[in-house]
Assembly symmetry: none
Homo-oligomer: 119 residues x 2
């Protein structure tokens, strides 16, 4: 599922959820009905500003349009997200992880300085 398809799918779902016609969405958002139809059918790659208008009508945040599934998988978590998740862990689990990270880092630093001394 491409990104434009994901967007179109989410937008269509939101419109049906609110039980609105394309014409109504058009009137409320300012996006012409024809253009809105093209967006729902993934015929175009909508601009950010257009998506903003629609997000306002559907009362959701922009990022809602890009989510494909109900919940994301851990495999694709970014480093930032991982850090956020680590923050939610209990103290004992968290400190255990941090100790391991510190250990690995300290280990690398030692190796690096050894290399530097040799060179």
């Amino acid at each position: 599922m491409s990104t434009v398809e994901t967007i179109s799918s989410n937008i269509k779902k939101l419109r049906e959820l609110k039980d609105l016609s394309q014409k109504e969405v058009s009137a409320a958002s300012g996006v012409p009905q024809g253009q809105y139809s093209r967006i729902e059918n993934a015929k175009v790659e909508p601009s950010i500003s257009t998506l903003e208008k629609l997000a306002a009508v559907f009362e959701v945040s922009l990022s809602e349009f890009f989510n494909n599934g109900p919940l994301d998988e851990d495999i694709n978590l970014s480093i930032l997200e991982k850090v956020k998740m680590i923050d939610t862990l209990h103290d004992d689990e968290q400190s255990a992880l941090i100790k391991m990270i510190d250990l690995a880092i300290a280990n690398k630093k030692m190796k690096d300085s050894l290399k530097a001394m040799i060179a």
Copy 2:
């Protein structure tokens, strides 16, 4: 903070997190350096396809670019610095650590969902 400003801010943070130059991001993504600079400075409203190329380089989902809430700013900075250091580790140490992190996260999610089922 406008949407383009949010995007530019997030993208800049991600690039610095990965310690990449604009030229490197450009080479890896195919987005010309000049255009990338305009995006980081919110001089343009980037297209979805451009954002996709950058998301691939930064290894994040598209929606990461739109998040501007307190969630992203509440990141524990010390942990963030540590996780950034993971990137400098050798592959074997790195993957071992990441596996442990993912495991801890998965473990917590399981606990949380169990709690939710009980309640």
